[in-house]
């Protein structure tokens, strides 16, 4: 499926909203979803529907947005039944309350969190105060990614799509780097 907004990138996120009592669906790529201001400021937006949208995509194998991730993390069963091993919270529960049950939920449900976080904050990487208890680690990549996310958002709002494409590619590269680093630290 192709993004309804840019008509170029593959759509990865379904935004469902209710307007005047009718439900409508918009399919967006990550970049467009991040910059989909009209829906970001839409008070009718229903986060629980959004989460359901993400889950539905994970269950349909041919259009799975993160096939490798979900193949590994969730298998091909019903994602609603996945539970956090520490606090026992299920995705179904999360959908109802939009509250996680413990720190480990952020690891268990890692793959669905990013689109939700992006939808809520338009950003995905913390740039504020650093915790005193944070283990000293290489935060260089994350910081760089946060900065580029901001530049990307600005390029798009300035309608400078050439620059935006450069930032988008840079972001992809860095994402790979940070994934690789994460893999190493987990070994």
């Amino acid at each position: 499926m192709i993004c309804d907004s840019c008509k170029q990138n593959p759509a990865k996120i379904i935004v469902k909203k209710i307007v005047d009592g009718y439900q409508s669906e918009i399919h967006l790529c990550e970049t467009c979803a991040q910059n989909n201001d009209s829906s970001a400021n839409d008070s009718n937006f229903d986060i629980t529907e959004f989460i359901k949208g993400i889950l539905n995509m994970q269950n349909s194998s041919n259009s799975a947005p993160f096939p490798e991730a979900y193949g590994n993390a969730f298998g091909f069963g019903n994602a609603e039944n996945i539970k956090c091993p520490t606090c026992n919270l299920s995705i179904g529960e999360f959908r109802k309350t939009v509250k996680f049950g413990c720190d480990d939920c952020y690891k268990t449900f890692d793959k669905i969190i990013e689109p939700i976080v992006r939808r809520m904050h338009s950003r995905t990487i913390h740039t504020g105060k650093v915790s005193k208890s944070a283990a000293p680690s290489d935060k260089g990549t994350l910081h760089e990614m946060a900065e580029i996310q901001q530049q990307l958002a600005k390029a798009i709002s300035d309608e400078d799509y050439e620059q935006a494409a450069i930032f988008r590619d840079k972001l992809r590269q860095l994402r790979e780097v940070s994934k690789a680093a994460e893999g190493k630290s987990n070994e």
């Binding site: 049950g101 904050h121 740039t127 504020g128 105060k129 901001q150």
Partner: protein, 337 residues
């Protein structure tokens, strides 16, 4: 009028809060009796018993020890949220002058909040930040490099910070310019909602403006954006008051003096009616129509006439009718003395 009073007539209070969780304890929605108690003990150890915070004279109150009226009065005074008590072992840790309140086991283990009068975003942030630092010396908070401080609801991730101002904007309300203000807030990434009352109504023309995003934005950026919109709203409200004075001076004064007339003569009055009349009077004070009364006095009065707080100062078993009668005489006494 001093520069501070000049701003405080429109920005009534500033509020900043930080959401934090303690590592290795399930969040309140998934807690057990044992782990909830552990969270309380750690929070108390990091505040009341923390030598670094000795001067703040923090004290813990368990929600279970409060009767319903006391709990509701604390909600009215913005010391706790209406949701506190929904989860196990909840309570609040408050400092000596009640400017800082730390809710324990609300939606997150810890919610550090500071409320100051007037436009004091930086001061309020520095106060909660100092408490946060001191608490982190004693207990580790849940944190990830990517998402920042971990919170039960992902809408609070990152800084865990919500900052806001309560503004009194009667002239903008009279002139139906609220949609414009809401649009402006939206462009800043801020949310605006009525401070009292339900749904879309805003009793007393009091509105809360606060940040919607807490992640991918620094504390300084949050403070700056709220500061900018506050200055903008002060300007717009003032312009609107001036234009009302120029075009409808008699009508405006008539409304304000009638409000004063009712407040000082009524025998029975509801919270709702008192608040809309006090709002008009407050604008009258700002326009110099009442020389003996200050904004601060009216702000204080607005809190004192809320149902639970008023009942505590009168009779804990009072029904609505006797409370409305008492409220009328209470307001008269406060305004005429």
């Amino acid at each position: 009028m001093s520069d501070e009073a000049y701003i405080n007539d429109i920005v009534v209070t500033t509020r900043v809060r930080l959401a934090r969780n303690i590592t290795d304890i399930p969040y309140p929605i998934k807690t057990t009796d044992e782990s909830a108690l552990l969270a309380v003990n750690k929070a108390v150890a990091a505040t009341e018993l923390n030598p670094e915070l000795a001067d703040d004279h923090f004290g813990f109150t368990s929600i279970n020890t409060l009767n319903e009226l006391n709990r509701r009065s604390m909600v009215e005074r913005h010391l706790i949220s209406p949701e506190l008590g929904k989860y196990k072992q909840s309570g609040v840790i408050i400092n000596a002058d009640s400017t800082i309140s730390i809710m324990v086991n609300e939606e997150d283990h810890i919610r550090i909040q500071c409320i100051l009068k007037g436009l004091k975003l930086l001061e309020a942030y520095e106060m909660v930040n100092r408490i946060d630092d001191a608490m982190q010396e004693v207990i580790p908070f849940s944190y990830s490099d990517k998402y920042g401080f971990l919170t039960s609801c992902p809408s609070n991730l990152g800084t865990g910070m919500r900052a806001g101002v309560m503004v009194h904007i009667p002239a903008l309300t009279i002139s139906n310019r609220l949609p414009q203000i809401a649009g402006m807030a939206n462009r800043f990434g801020l949310a605006i909602r009525g401070m009292y009352g339900e749904g879309s109504e805003a009793l007393g023309d009091l509105f809360q403006i606060s940040n919607q995003h807490s992640l991918g934005i620094t504390e300084e950026e949050i403070v700056n954006s709220i500061h900018s919109i506050s200055r903008e709203i002060i300007k717009l409200e003032r312009e609107e008051r001036n234009s009302l004075l120029i075009n409808q001076e008699d009508e405006l004064k008539d409304r304000i003096y009638r409000a004063y007339g009712i407040l000082t003569n009524a025998c029975v009055i509801s919270t709702r009616e008192s608040m809309s009349l006090l709002s008009l009077m407050r604008m009258g004070v700002d326009l110099g129509l009442f020389v003996d009364i200050t904004d601060a006095k009216l702000d204080d009065l607005i809190i004192k006439i809320q149902p639970a707080t008023l009942a505590l100062s009168y009779n804990e078993n009072a029904d609505d009718r006797s409370l409305n009668i008492y409220r009328a005489s209470f307001i008269q006494q406060e305004l005429l003395n």
